[in-house]
Amino acid sequence: MSRSEEISKLLKSLTSSSADVEAAAIVDNDGLMIASALPADVEDDRVAAMSAALLGMSDRIVRELGRGLFELVMIRGSEGYTILVRCGPEAVLSVLAARTAKLGLIFLDANRSAKEIARLIT
């Protein structure tokens, strides 16, 4: 299996692991989409650039406020969550979760996937 097939497979297994995970994508630090399992109506390239921008800013604020190394950022909207998790030094995993999602489980799954993805891309 090629590297990109392995990454796609990991994303699929993350999105099918629980009904609460609605979609996921992996983006590099420059905002380039590496793999996506996002809804069809989402503009992949825009979301990729936005995710990387948020990652950059989050990374900076964690350092500025002496919170160690950036690990995760969560945004809550009225219809659900967007969670960004670092995948090694080069990329970020973005997970969309339902409003009713059990966050503890989502964090666990997302972190586990992020680690595996980091291993694949670095």
Binding site: N29, D30, D45, R46, A49, A52, A53, G56, M57, R60
Partner: protein, 178 residues
């Protein structure tokens, strides 16, 4: 972006700026050594009337005029190698640091384009000579401005990258996506 020195070389090449221009400019050095100060005084007077720029130069007009006189004398030094353009590049960086609105730098250059022609007509008299030397002066003024503006734009992006943690490629992508 391309290597800076390559950009300088490309700009000179594009405008056909060469040895002849260097000689023309060198020949103008005495005129500007005598009358350049008056031109500088005039545009600082103007900068002092615009609230935006007046606030920036207030209390240090004399020091800035001296800096400007050095810049002007270098225009006529006859040496336009990488070190020359590095100094121009630094002007752009300094202007970002103190927040100089770039269109006023353009305005100063525009003022110098026009006033220098009047000065050459007065001092050289020979129309052919004025046209030839002024053409070289226009080229170097424009190249200076381009380099200052390039540095200004590059420095702003660098600062944005530093602050936001975003790479230059990402900033470019955000611009394209918006």
């Amino acid at each position: 972006m391309k290597d800076k020195n390559q950009v300088f070389a490309d700009l000179k090449d594009f405008l056909g700026f060469g040895e002849e221009d260097a000689q023309n400019l060198k020949a103008l050095a005495p005129i500007f050594a005598t009358h350049g100060g008056a031109l500088t005084d005039r545009f600082y007077e103007k900068l002092g009337t615009v609230p935006e720029t007046a606030a920036l130069v207030e209390g240090r007009v004399d020091a800035l005029k001296k800096t400007h006189a050095v810049w002007m004398s270098e225009l006529f030094s006859g040496d336009y190698g990488d070190a020359y353009f590095e100094r121009r590049w630094k002007i752009g960086l300094t202007h970002v640091r103190v927040n100089v609105p770039p269109h006023y730098v353009e305005a100063v250059i525009s003022f110098l384009r026009g006033e220098s022609e009047k000065l050459l007509v007065r001092e050289l008299k020979d129309a052919g000579l004025v046209a030839e030397r002024h053409a070289s002066l226009l080229k170097i003024l424009d190249i200076d401005l381009m380099v200052i503006n390039l540095a200004y734009a590059a420095e702003r992006v660098d600062r944005l990258c530093n602050f936001t943690g975003m790479s230059k490629k990402l900033i470019q992508r955000c611009i394209e996506q918006s």
